[in-house]
């Protein structure tokens, strides 16, 4: 199903011509209106007229998160200060956040892309979408809300609230789709089990859209099996629109990134040099239609690769592979680079293991992984538990080249957060 068939299936040459026009327009606008880019262009000795092809985009300056922090609160605005209609922020780990402004058209576009994304998974106006993401400064709640309303769904703006209330809404209003953090989806499945609620029989749930946290294919499968539903991966970041800029279609084989709104590049995360299509590197995005706050070559820190082959769904917008991890999330333990997703993949493909885990770095450079057992993963045999621990330690050794200490803990004993899951605690004295 298509929301905007013409835009979604535009032939590549036409799509690229359109991209070039939008890129040139964006570059002209920031050169006129944004002092930050005026400075950068002067440093690099480039003028808007120099951008004659899409390849010329690589001559443009990068925009880093640090630039957004430095521009806080409104240094990157390309419109008059009274023109934006909405503000979102992206949390900084320390101090001030990154502020992102949206004009009326920007909001309209973000809803439009969200609508395309939902419809491509089969959502219709008959669906009841319970939005369990946080509303407010975080984009996850509002952007999905506007998109689902546009499709004509009944949208329940539940927010992250308590599991008790989520279940009540789901039962009373016959929720068919949820927008939810993957870690919370796993937790909520356990909550249902404890309540004796069988989601296959007792709920009308058919689909879940999960995002805002990097997660693995194994986690998706677990959620699908726990509820008996289809789970679609959603990619986004506040600096762009939030959710809905990249989304899976019914084939669940990579995230279609809406290329009529964003220019995709994959670069070497260290050198910043563009990488050939299909190679894994850092995703760099340029907004092609943003009015309030256009961003050129924004370094997302997300590690992925482009899938060059066309998708069976007929959309011409290229797909990205599942995000391997955010470069910021990478851990370095005893000189080895480790993404938490590598650990998650091993855990989530082990049936005796539950949904929650915690990576603890401590001492000089020691890694311990606390692993919750699945409720059904305990058969009373200490030998089986020792065997499981040994088996996990071996898998970690093979995958990570580091042998962590594996600690098995009872189901439900690790802390659960309502927001994004906290999976790593670093208290090393390095």
């Amino acid at each position: 199903m298509f929301w905007d068939r013409e835009s979604e299936t535009l032939a590549r040459p036409a799509l690229e011509r359109f991209q070039l026009g939008q890129l040139q327009e964006t570059v002209r606008r920031v050169a006129q209106r944004v002092p930050f880019y005026q400075r950068k262009f002067a440093e690099l000795g480039i003028k808007p007229e120099d951008i004659k092809s899409l390849e010329d985009a690589r001559r443009l300056p990068f925009t880093a998160s640090a630039d957004l922090f430095a521009a806080y609160p409104d240094g990157l605005l390309a419109v008059a200060a009274d023109e934006p209609v909405r503000l979102h922020t992206s949390s900084g780990t320390t101090g001030k956040p990154k502020a992102v402004f949206f004009s009326r058209n920007d909001i309209n576009n973000s809803a439009e892309l969200m609508a395309r994304s939902l419809v491509m998974t089969g959502v219709t106006h008959k669906d009841v979408l319970q939005n369990m993401m946080s509303y407010g400064l975080f984009t996850g709640g509002l952007v999905m809300h506007y998109g689902a309303e546009r499709v004509g769904c009944l949208v329940i703006p539940a927010g992250p609230g308590t599991s008790e209330r989520q279940l009540m809404l789901m039962q009373d209003f016959h929720t068919t789709a949820v927008h939810i953090l993957p870690s919370y989806a796993l937790y909520f499945a356990r909550f249902l089990e404890q309540r004796g609620v069988n989601p296959r029989k007792d709920l009308k749930l058919r689909k879940a859209f999960v995002g805002a946290e990097p997660h693995t294919e194994e986690t998706r499968r677990r959620i699908e099996e726990a509820y008996g539903i289809d789970v679609y991966n959603s990619y986004g970041l506040t600096e762009m629109n939030g959710p809905g800029i990249g989304f899976e279609c019914e084939h669940k084989a990579g995230l279609h990134l809406w290329e009529d709104h964003f220019l995709i590049e994959i670069v070497d995360p260290v050198s910043g040099q563009p990488l050939p299509e299909g190679e894994r590197g850092e995703l760099v995005l340029t907004t092609l239609r943003r009015e309030a706050m256009p961003l050129l070559r924004y370094r997302t820190h997300d590690i992925t690769s482009i899938i060059p082959e066309p998708c069976a769904c007929g959309r011409t917008h290229r797909r990205l592979n599942r995000i391997v991890g955010r470069a910021d999330d990478m851990l370095i333990v005893r000189g080895v680079n480790i993404f938490p997703q590598q650990i998650e993949r091993i855990l989530m493909s082990t049936p005796q293991v539950g949904p929650n885990y915690l990576i603890v770095l401590e001492g000089l450079d020691d890694m311990a992984i606390q692993v919750e057992l699945a409720s059904a993963g305990f058969d009373g045999q200490v030998e089986h538990l020792s065997g499981l621990r040994h088996q996990l330690a071996e898998k970690f050794k093979t995958e990570l080249y580091v042998r962590p200490k594996v600690e098995l803990v009872p189901a439900g004993s690790l802390p659960v957060t309502e927001g994004k899951a906290k999976r790593v605690i670093d208290r090393r004295s390095l």
Binding site: F378, G380, Q381, V382, L385, E407, L408, G412, S413
Partner: protein
């Protein structure tokens, strides 16, 4: 015969936490063993009211499982354990866990094995008596 097995973290106070749940539920423990393996272990109980024990432990968020074992009564004399072990060995049955004691001049052996049904059959054939839970509780 069923034992109640509980996952326990190897931290101070964990055993007391579990036994308190059983005490508060007025469950009487007739036999107990704790097996530890590093940061965790398993406590196994024979109790007078296993259903209540499982329910109360689960309510407190503990991981519980039931474990089927055999309680064998052997003559209280030299060579009894040997006879049991020999009988199982001859039929290719492996012992997973085993513990034994003498109470009121009766020698009792509690065994866990993956081949429970087969073990039961060969032991009874050998003329050994397998105790019911009621018999175990009234030793």
């Amino acid at each position: 015969m069923n034992l109640v097995a509980v996952f326990v973290e190897n931290k101070p106070g964990q055993t007391a936490r579990i036994t308190k749940v059983l005490a508060d539920a007025h469950v009487n423990i007739c036999w107990v063993t704790i097996a530890h393996s590093g940061s965790f272990g398993v406590m196994k109980f024979l109790v007078n009211n296993p259903d209540q024990a499982v329910l109360s432990l689960q309510e407190k968020g503990l991981m519980v499982s039931r474990l089927e074992v055999l309680a064998i009564e052997a003559p209280n004399q030299p060579g009894s354990l040997q006879a049991v072990a020999d009988c199982l060995a001859q039929h290719g049955i492996n012992l997973a866990n085993c513990s034994g004691f003498v109470a009121n001049h009766r020698a009792i052996l509690i065994i866990e094995t993956p081949d429970l049904a087969k073990a039961r059959a060969v032991l009874e054939q050998q003329g050994l008596r397998l105790l019911t839970p009621e018999e175990m509780l009234s030793l």
